[in-house]
Amino acid sequence: MNNNEILPRLNEVFRDVFGDSSLSVNENTTSADIEDWDSLEHINLIAAVENEFGLRFKMREVSGMKNVGEMLAIIAERGK
């Protein structure tokens, strides 16, 4: 899967989880860019992304992801 296929689906997940239909993420988006992206919402986000793309993040990935770009790379590699 390439980023053009993934990004729109991922964007929908972000909009649902953060309850903001105007949200638009790109590779450089970080938790600092989204007001409600704290450690608690991160857990919901991870669960929702895992369910959307049918994959499981590794523990090191969950705690180490720095931006949406890194998330995209993992999804591109293992997502469905």
Binding site: G19, I43, A48, E52, V62
Partner: protein, 598 residues
């Protein structure tokens, strides 16, 4: 909201939580507010956010206090000013097998040391409950313990002296023995829930390492739903009626076509056995106070023929209402609701025909439906839906069905009397009106939480609050039980007044709708006035707080001869009655002094 009814899509709920929450809060429903303290032995945030959705959907608006991470023991035993000022209505202790600190460590441990550990571990939790009970008089909900996923020794782990699964199961038995004998302590059975979800789905070690979650995020909605069912049950928000279709729902086949000998029920065929099991399962609900009704497109004669099949478990007398006709089912359900003086939101409708279920969902959205494709699926949905989650069983529950059936008989008799008073006199009614005796406390609490229509102030009380006012010298508390020639209606009316010098403020006046128009309210007023005079009271003040369900009592005080003092724009009103020279109003109910029947 249908998305939040069982069976729900847990993954969707996790993802769209914020949107669902917004939608619920904007739907204009009137909800009771409850403060819920969550004392956690692991991270509780996501359980709480899912719990909030389900409670809102059950008509409860929660406010939460969350203990610091894994501080359930400290908060409970040593106290916490923040928790004190929160003043919880319910306390939920979120612990799991992760919080068992005294599990056996080696097969070398003797039965005695393991026994010691078990007792110490139990004492640790008991300390939590006892101390909460002392500080807060409110219900406490405690999880039991789920089995571990990993077993070093296989089945042996489940029965050996030092086995962890064995230890956990013994703990669970100690827990339930204690809870059964402790008022206000409720067990949330996560041992069942984890089994039904599957231990391999339930446990997620990584979620523990990453977030200190005691279970997988994917089962959190199931978890929160099951917990929400206990809370709504404590606050009397259960459903009350199962309204059933007949053909291919209570038996196999179509009675009108196949005839009594043609339908399948009983032990002769596999299909017959399945429907027999279903009938037994449904019949069992009666003993818990659930009412059964029939809503079927059939000639009544045929419906009765089917219900009186010699191999049937359910008989026509098990139902408080049988609507067998060719009218639309939504109309029949609405009529049944009116006949029983119950709200449509107390109904669960079961039908094998998906089209009938869809019509009900469209026409009567407050009715819950179960589309029966197989009887076992329907039994599973009834089980998991929590519509009839039980938190207490009163004597009344066991006899509710008979009382409603007696009501139907009374209605039949009414037709043959000259005047209504003649009819009332013929009922040979007796009332026992007394203070809040200990045996009635549970029933009184139940009534304060579920009476909506004949309820002047709709004030809700916990069991402990009822206990408190029952012995308070500043309150006059009376409850009334009504008996007549058809049976005992049980405790049907509750009045609480608070004394202020020579005045009495009526804080609560409610009556069960099953005794409407029997003059029981007059008997209650007579007794209230008598007790007030004994206390030197000269004036009684009444209050009517309007809700969307209690318009039937808007003029109750006026009918009693009270004077209107104030009427507000929102429909609330205040009244008073000077009781000097008061003459008893009840003429049709004989008052018994003593509890024991004549």
């Amino acid at each position: 909201m249908r998305e939040l009814n069982f069976p729900f899509d847990g993954k969707d709920i996790i993802r769209r939580r914020l949107a669902l929450r917004k939608q619920l809060l904007a739907d204009g429903c009137v909800r009771v507010k409850k403060r819920i303290a969550v004392l956690g032995g692991s991270t509780t945030n996501h359980i709480v956010s899912a719990l909030e959705l389900f409670l809102l959907n059950f008509g409860i608006e929660p406010e939460f206090y969350l203990s610091e991470y894994n501080k359930f023991y400290e908060d409970a035993v040593f106290g916490n000013p923040e928790l004190d000022s929160f003043d919880p209505d319910v306390i939920y202790i979120h612990t799991t097998s992760r919080n068992l600190t005294m599990l056996p460590e080696s097969p070398a441990e003797t039965a005695e040391t393991v026994e010691h550990k078990l007792n110490d571990q139990f004492a640790y939790f008991k300390q939590v409950w006892d101390s909460l009970k002392q500080h807060f008089s409110c219900p406490v909900i405690q999880n039991n313990f789920e089995l571990p996923l990993f077993r070093r020794t296989g089945s042996y782990d489940g029965w050996s002296t030092a086995g962890h699964a064995a230890f956990i199961q013994r703990m669970n038995v100690m827990l339930l023995d204690y809870a059964r004998n402790t008022r206000g302590l409720y067990i949330h059975d996560i041992n069942y829930l984890s089994a039904v979800c599957g231990l391999a789905n339930w446990h997620d070690a990584e979620a523990w390492y990453l977030y200190k979650y005691a279970m997988s995020t994917n089962v959190i909605p199931d978890f929160a739903y099951s917990l929400a069912c206990i809370i709504k049950s404590i606050y009397g928000k259960n459903h009350k009626v199962i309204d059933l279709d007949l053909d291919n729902t209570l038996w196999g086949g179509v009675i009108g076509d196949d005839g009594q000998e043609g339908i399948e029920i009983g032990q002769e065929t596999a299909v017959g056995q399945a429907f027999s099991e279903f009938q037994s399962f449904i019949k069992g609900y009666k003993d818990y106070g659930v009412l059964l009704a029939v809503c079927s497109k059939n000639d009544e004669e045929n419906a009765l023929l089917g219900l009186n099949h010699p191999c049937g478990v359910l008989k026509s007398t098990d139902f408080v209402s049988i609507k067998a006709n060719w009218e639309p089912k939504d109309r029949n359900i609405a009529e049944t609701a009116a006949d029983l003086s119950l709200g449509l939101d107390s109904f669960v409708f079961i039908d094998d025909n998906p089209a009938e279920c869809a019509i009900i969902e469209g026409q009567l959205p407050m009715v819950q439906t179960i589309n029966l494709s197989t009887v076992h699926e329907a039994m599973y949905k009834l089980t998991r839906s929590g519509f009839f989650e039980v938190t207490a069983v009163s004597d009344d529950d066991m006899h509710r069905s008979e009382m409603y059936a007696a009501n139907a008989q009374r209605a039949a008799q009414l037709r043959s009397f000259e005047s209504y008073e003649d009819y009332l006199l013929s009922l040979d009614m007796h009332a026992v009106i007394c203070g809040f005796e200990p045996v009635y406390i549970q029933r009184i609490t139940q009534l304060t939480n579920k009476s909506n229509q004949f309820n002047l102030t709709t004030r809700r009380y916990s069991e402990d609050e009822i206990q408190k006012v029952s012995t308070s010298p500043d309150h006059i508390c009376i409850c009334g039980r009504l008996l007549d020639k058809f049976g005992d209606n049980g405790i049907v009316s509750v009045v609480i007044g608070k004394c202020r010098d020579k005045e009495l403020d009526i804080e609560l006046w409610l009556m069960s709708c099953r005794v409407l128009k029997r003059d029981m309210e007059l008997a209650m007023l007579d007794e209230l006035v008598r007790r007030a005079k004994d206390k030197g009271i000269t004036r009684i003040n009444g209050f009517y707080y309007k809700t969307h369900k209690n318009s039937m009592v808007a003029e109750l005080y006026s009918s009693f001869g009270f004077t209107l003092d104030k009427k507000l724009d929102n429909g609330d009103s205040e009244w008073h009655l000077d009781i000097e020279g008061y003459e008893n109003k009840n003429k049709v109910i004989k008052i018994r002094d003593k509890e024991n029947p004549e």
